[in-house]
């Protein structure tokens, strides 16, 4: 009887999981359908899906924003150096606990502000999942891959199972993809909030597949 109950519970959980997957899949399909239409005012950019982000990024990390500092760069732009404390490193050399600096375009110095729509912005002390590449001008600094696509906010313990939740990136961007040579609207790498553990597993699987393991 006990065994039967356990099996029944397992079966119900499997059904729940299937329903959940169906729900995610349906919402994903709906989102893709909706994404065919596009707003006009945003920086136009090729959409990067999760496998592409993982493949192209030199660093994939969960980080916490420690501080931000705006400065003029050598080309006359305002850039903001965002100091990030690494909490978890999924790809790249930065070890947990290390401090890395990510550079974003835009910021404010005195009375002058510079804004580039589609560049990511950061709240102090917030946690984000970052896909980054070395800056061309200063390889010691990182740049977000795909502008705001490479920065996904994390909401603490907001998933159904009490896990942290990764929110979609790409704020301020009009994402496009090539279809038969033409450009059509495309969704961001993740189209709905996902549990961090789920995203971590996906990234791990992508890295393993890439290494041929």
């Amino acid at each position: 009887m006990l065994l039967h109950t356990v099996r029944l519970t397992r079966f119900r959980r499997m059904l729940d999981a299937v329903n959940l997957r169906r729900c995610f899949a349906s919402i994903a399909a709906l989102a893709v359908a909706l994404a065919i239409a596009l707003p006009v005012s945003a920086s136009v950019m090729i959409a990067l899906d999760l496998p592409t982000l993982v493949q192209r990024a030199s660093h994939v990390m969960v980080v916490r924003v420690e501080s931000q500092h705006a400065r003029w760069d050598a080309r006359g732009r305002i850039v903001t150096d965002v100091s990030l404390r690494v909490e978890e490193s999924m790809k790249g050399a930065a070890a947990p606990g290390a401090l890395v600096v990510l550079e974003r375009f835009g910021g404010a110095i005195g009375d002058v502000g510079m804004r580039v729509e589609g560049e990511p912005m950061f709240a102090d002390s917030s946690r984000v999942l970052v896909f980054a590449v070395p800056s061309v001008a200063d390889p010691a600094h990182l740049r977000p891959l795909g502008m705001a696509q490479g920065v996904m906010p994390i909401r603490a313990r907001a998933a159904a199972n009490g896990d942290d939740l990764v929110l979609p990136g790409g704020d301020g961007l009009a994402l496009m993809q090539r279809v038969n040579g033409g450009l059509v609207a495309a969704p961001p790498a993740i189209i709905a909030p996902r549990a961090l553990s789920d995203v971590r597993d996906t990234i791990g699987a992508l890295l393993e597949a890439r290494h041929g393991r």
Binding site: A33, S41, I109, R115
Partner: protein
Amino acid sequence: MAAEAESLQRRATSRMPYAGLATHVALAFAFVVALLALAPGAPARAWCRMTTSQTPAPAGMCPTGIRLEWTKPCSRYHIFGAGSHTLPIATVRDVFELSFSQWETIECGGATVPGMPNLEAHLSAEASQCDRSEYVTAGANVSTVVFVDDWAARDYDPSAYAVTTVWHSTRTGEIFDVDMEINEDGRVYTECPSPAGCADMRVDLQNVITHEAGHYFGIAHTSVVSATMFSMASSGEIGKRILEADDIEGFCNVYPPGHFDGATCDDTPRGGATLTCGEVDDGCGCSAPGAKGSTARLGLALLGVAVASLLRRRARR
């Protein structure tokens, strides 16, 4: 809508024995909300204004901070050099005129005072000699449009078609200067036939510039990073040449008809007009271009004071 769906999903899955049923209910509700959002005339708001804020917008909301806007009715921009490497300058100029006129000729129907916002961005006949985005706080400026073939060297993302930089006052939100850099590194721009669009790998320039012109005027993008934000506009490669109702609403909200009544149309940039860039590298690796004009002038002033002081001492002797 995404937040609602997410909330429903969370609630549904937290009650595991009924999770399957709850999930279906959530799914059905999400679909209904989505369909309502798609329905013609749905009051979804996809536009936001650019602001002075340097922090992310609250989830599902427009950014906080002071809104960015032109405080005078006329501005001027220049195309750098010969323009695109693949399109004749005459074609490029036509595309820019058409793209900006999409915004300039908006009819604000339903506004308190119907009509056009009377905001003008003049494309100068003179070519810019400044090939980068910059703003000089104490000197002359040029709003420049540059077709860039060293995109990566500028640290811009190779996936981006264009980057528009909006320089503004952090105190008032006044737009000081706007520069547009267009990625021509490995991209070929053209005028795609309407309504079919391009079937090859070329990119419709007007499609991209109409997007970027919105930023020129301070219009941003919704902060809702989910499919719901895509609910109000058209699709297709050249569809975005034409503004949608939502864009018009956003623009008319920023610049309602009558906004500039009585204002003089003077398109001189802030600090005066120039065609050239300011100096950038002062040799110490710690350049401050925003102050570069003033730095040069300060140096001259100090030199003048020193010479005057020297002459006065000699005169006393």
